[in-house]
Symmetry: C2
Subunit: 477 residues, 2 copies
C-alpha cells in the first residue's frame, strides 16, 4: 500500500480502535478514555472500539478484550499500552488488516537507553514487514476536524486550510489552541513524535498534493534524511507557504531534543542554510509560528514596505516604530495635507500627527473618524496599515477603554474592507485576566471580519515581513 | 528651595489642586475628574481642590474658580487645561506658594512646531524665575501609593520598594499594571513627559538618597544632559539595581520619540556604551523591564550558572533548554543516582529523566513528589531551579490541568522555601482567557509566597542572567 493511501486512512479512517482504553480510576486519568472522549465529542462518523485486556464498558461503550474480537474492519488504531506490548500489537494489527497504528506509547529511543533504541528499530522492521504503518512512537496522533478526529475535546470543530505537523504533543496542543484564538482553523494536524516510521518528508510530500492544505506549518526537532527532506521541502515551499520552528539550536537544546524524541538536531548553521535554500520560512518560537500562520491565512502581501501605524499612546507608538523599522518597514512621514486634515479634526495637543499617528479616538465622532481613516488608507504612500490597541496602556477604566477601542477597531475594519489595503490589528498591553477576556473578544471580531490580528507589533511586523520575503523568493525562483 | 524638598512635596504633598476639573460631559471624559477620582479612591489624607473657571461641584466637592480662592495652602497642582493658559497658571501658582505644577497639558515641544518649542522654553524660564517646579509637560505625574496619590484608580493600593520613572504616560499605565500582576509593588512612580524642567537626572539623584526606594526602573526616550546623567546613573547603579528601557534605537524610532516627548534619542551605540559604563541593566521591551524588576524584587542571585529545569511537556522542555542556554545558563546532566530515584518513582516512559526533567506530576503522590523535589533542590550541581508550567500545552481539560499544576506548583514552592535555593516559576502557554484567569491565580500564589513568577522561560532566563551580571559588575567595581 502506498503512503498516500495510508495517510488518507490516518486523516480520515473509517473506524478507530483505542488499545488500553478503560474508565479512569478514581483520582487518576486513563489516556485511552481521553482519546475516546475527544473522538466522540468531535462526532466521528464511524465506529470507535475501546480495547482492553479487562472487559467492561467505558463511556457507555463495550470494551473488546482483543483487537481480533472487533466485528468490523479497523483502519486506525491508537495505542495507550506500555512499550513492552507493542510488537504483539503490531502482529494483531496485521492480522486485522489495520492500516496505521498511532503509538501514544512512549519508552523508545527517546529514553536514551540501548533497550529503547533496539525496540524502536524492531518496531520499524516489523512495520515494514507487516505493512502496518506506525505513527510515533511517543506522539498524540491526529487532529482532523473534517473527519471528526481529535486527541482533545477543546480544539475547534470547524476545519480550515492549515496543516501542521509537530514532533511534540504538548506543543501541538499549545499551537492549535493559540492559533485558534487568532482565527486559524486547521485541516490536518499530526503530532508525530519520534518519527520512527512515518516521517516529516512523507508528510510534507503528502501535503504537496493535498488540495485542502493551503498553508503548512511544522515544529520539528530533527530530520531523518536531510537530502530527501531538502528536496521535498523545496518543492513544497514553491507550491504553498511553509513555516518551520526547529528548536535545539544550542548544544544544550540538541541534547534535550535527543531526550525528547530521539532526534539528531544538527547544527544551527546547517539548518539555517537548508531553510534558506528551500524557500521555507524559519521561525524561532511557537508564538512566531502562530504569527506566520496568521499572516499566510489572513493577509494579502503588501506591495511595498511603507507602513502607516496608528492607534493610541505616545510611548506605544514609539515602541511600535522601533518594531516596524527592525522588521524592515519604513514609516514615511504623513503628507502635510493629511496632517492638516487631522489637525482640523482632532487638534494638536496630546496627539501625534505624524507616522505613527497617535490620536485619541474619543475626540472624534464615527463619521469624522472614518473619513480620517479613508484618507490614511487611501494615501498612495503606504502599502500596509497597522492599528495598535494598547488595551491597558490608557488611563481609562477597562470598561470605558473597551467601548472606545472597540468602536475604533470596528471603524478601522470597516474602512479597511472598503479600501482593500492590507491591514493588521494588534491588541496588546494586556495585564489582568479581564483585559485578556476583552482581547479575546476583540480578536474574534477581527478574524470573523477576515482581518489578521496579532498580540504584539513586533510579532505582526516580523511575520508580515517574512511573508513578503517568502512571496518575493517564490517570484524569483 | 532645593530639588529634594520639591520632590518630597511631589511624592507626598499636603494638599492637591486640579485645574480644569469638572463633571464629565455626557458621553465625554473630563480628565481632571479622572485625576480627582483616582486621588480620592486612594484615600489621600489632605484636601483636594478642584479648580475650574465655571463654578459648581464635581464628585460632591465644590469647585474653586481660581487657585487663589482656595483657603488653605496648596503643595501640588495638576493642570488639565490647554497649553495657552499655562504661563498665567504658573504666576497663579507662584502667588499661592505652590511647590510643584504637574502639566498633564500637552502641546509643547513634542508637536514639532516652533510655537510649541518656544512656549516650553518660556515655561522653563518662568519656572526658574518663580521657583514653581514644573513636571512634564505632557505627562501624568505621580503614583505614590503610600501618600495616597495616583492618576488611575486601578493601581495597587499597597506600596513596595520599586520606584519607576517613565516618559510615556501610557507606558507607565501598562508597566505598573503588568508588574502588579507579578507581585511588584511600587514606592514612587512618575510619568515625567517632556522633562522640560525636572528631568531624569534630578529624579535618579533623588532616588539615590531615598531609603524607601530599593530598585529603580525607567522608560526614557532621551536624556537632557548626557554627562550629568552618566555620572548620576553610575552612582545610582553602584548603590541599587537600576534597569532602563530606551526606545528610539532605530532612526525611525528616534524621530517618533521626538514627536512624542520632544526627546533627542541619540544613537543606539552611544546609549549602549553609556549603559555599559554605568553598570545599569539595559532592556529592550516593556515586558523585559517588568521581568528585570521581578528578578531584582523576588530573587536572590544564584551562585553560579547551573540551572535545573523541570516541569511538563517534552517540546516545552526542549524550548526551555534553548532559552536557558541562550541566556548563558548550563543545564548539567542529572547525576545517575537522582535519575535512578526518579525512574523508581515515576517510570521511564513518557518522562524525560534528564535536565530538563519532564515528569507527569499526576504519577506521584504529594509525598513522593516532594521527596523528589528535595533531591533536585538539594543537588549541589545546580544553582537555580526553574519550574515551567505549560498551562495549555497538555492534553487535559483546563480544570483538571489546573488542579494538577497547582499541586505541583505548591509543592515546588514549599520545598523551595525549605531549601532556600533560588527558584522561579514560569506560567506559560496561555491561550483562552480562562487560562489567563488560572495563570493570574497561579502568579498571585507565587508572589504571595515570595517566589518570582514569569510569563516565559526566555524572559525568566534573560532577566536572571542580567541580574547576575549586574551584581557581578558591582562586586568588581
Amino acid at each position: 500500500m502506498n503512503k498516500k493511501t495510508v495517510l488518507d486512512s490516518i486523516f480520515a479512517p473509517r473506524s478507530v480502535a483505542i488499545i488500553g482504553a478503560a474508565q479512569s480510576p478514581p483520582g487518576g486519568v486513563n489516556t485511552g478514555q481521553l482519546f475516546l472522549e475527544a473522538i466522540t465529542t468531535f462526532g466521528f462518523q464511524g465506529p470507535v472500539y475501546p480495547v482492553n485486556r479487562n472487559p467492561g464498558t467505558v463511556n457507555g461503550l463495550p470494551i473488546y478484550t482483543a483487537l481480533r474480537e472487533i466485528p468490523g474492519p479497523v483502519d486506525y488504531v491508537i495505542s495507550c499500552i506500555p512499550a513492552s506490548g507493542i510488537t504483539d500489537l503490531i502482529h494483531d494489527c496485521a492480522a486485522k488488516d489495520v492500516k496505521a497504528l498511532c503509538l501514544f506509547t512512549a519508552g523508545f529511543s527517546e529514553t536514551g537507553t540501548e533497550a529503547g533504541r533496539l525496540l524502536e528499530a524492531q518496531i520499524c522492521d516489523l512495520a515494514e514487514a507487516t505493512g502496518v504503518h506506525v505513527l510515533g512512537p511517543n506522539c498524540m496522533g491526529v487532529y482532523s476536524p473534517k473527519a471528526g478526529l481529535s486527541f482533545t475535546s477543546d480544539f475547534p470543530r470547524e476545519h480550515g486550510g492549515v496543516s501542521l505537523i509537530c514532533q511534540s504533543g504538548g506543543n501541538t496542543l499549545y499551537l492549535v489552541r493559540a492559533a485558534a484564538e487568532r482565527g486559524v482553523r486547521f485541516n490536518k494536524v499530526l503530532s508525530y513524535g519520534n518519527a520512527a516510521h512515518i516521517d516529516e518528508s512523507d508528510l510534507f510530500e503528502y501535503f504537496m498534493d493535498d488540495d485542502e492544505t493551503r498553508v503548512v506549518a511544522a515544529y520539528m526537532e530533527g530530520v531523518k534524511d536531510g537530502r530527501r527532506f531538502l528536496d521535498v521541502l523545496t518543492r513544497l515551499a514553491s507550491a504553498k507557504p511553509v513555516t518551520i520552528l526547529k528548536p535545539g539550536q544550542t548544544p544544550e537544546g540538541c541534547s534535550a531534543a535527543a531526550s525528547h524524541t530521539g532526534s539528531l538536531a544538527g547544527s544551527k548553521e546547517v539548518w539555517h542554510s537548508l531553510m534558506q535554500q528551500s524557500g521555507a520560512v524559519e521561525v524561532s518560537t511557537p508564538d512566531e509560528l502562530v504569527d506566520m500562520i496568521v499572516a499566510f491565512t489572513y493577509m494579502k502581501a503588501p506591495q511595498g514596505r511603507n507602513a502607516l501605524v496608528f492607534g493610541n499612546g505616545g510611548g506605544a507608538s514609539v515602541l511600535a516604530t522601533d518594531a516596524c523599522a527592525s522588521a524592515g518597514f519604513k514609516l514615511p512621514p504623513l503628507p502635510d495635507v493629511i496632517r492638516q486634515q487631522l489637525r482640523n479634526a482632532m487638534g494638536e495637543a496630546g496627539n501625534i500627527l505624524g507616522n505613527p499617528v497617535d490620536i485619541i479616538p474619543a475626540l472624534a465622532d464615527d463619521e469624522t473618524y472614518c473619513s480620517l481613516l479613508r484618507t490614511f488608507y487611501g494615501w498612495e504612500g503606504v502599502d500596509l496599515v497597522l492599528l495598535q490597541i494598547p488595551l491597558r496602556g490608557i488611563m481609562l477604566p477597562l470598561p470605558v477603554a473597551t467601548l472606545l477601542f472597540e468602536s475604533q477597531m470596528n471603524n478601522a475594519i470597516k474602512v479597511g474592507q472598503e479600501t482593500g489595503k492590507p491591514l493588521a490589528v494588534i491588541v496588546h498591553c494586556l495585564t489582568s485576566w479581564e483585559s485578556c477576556q476583552t482581547a479575546a473578544d476583540f480578536r474574534r471580531k477581527c478574524y470573523e471580519a477576515g482581518v489578521a490580528v496579532y498580540n504584539s507589533v513586533h510579532g505582526a511586523a516580523k511575520a508580515i515581513s517574512s511573508m513578503m520575503r517568502y512571496y518575493d523568493n517564490r517570484k524569483v525562483a
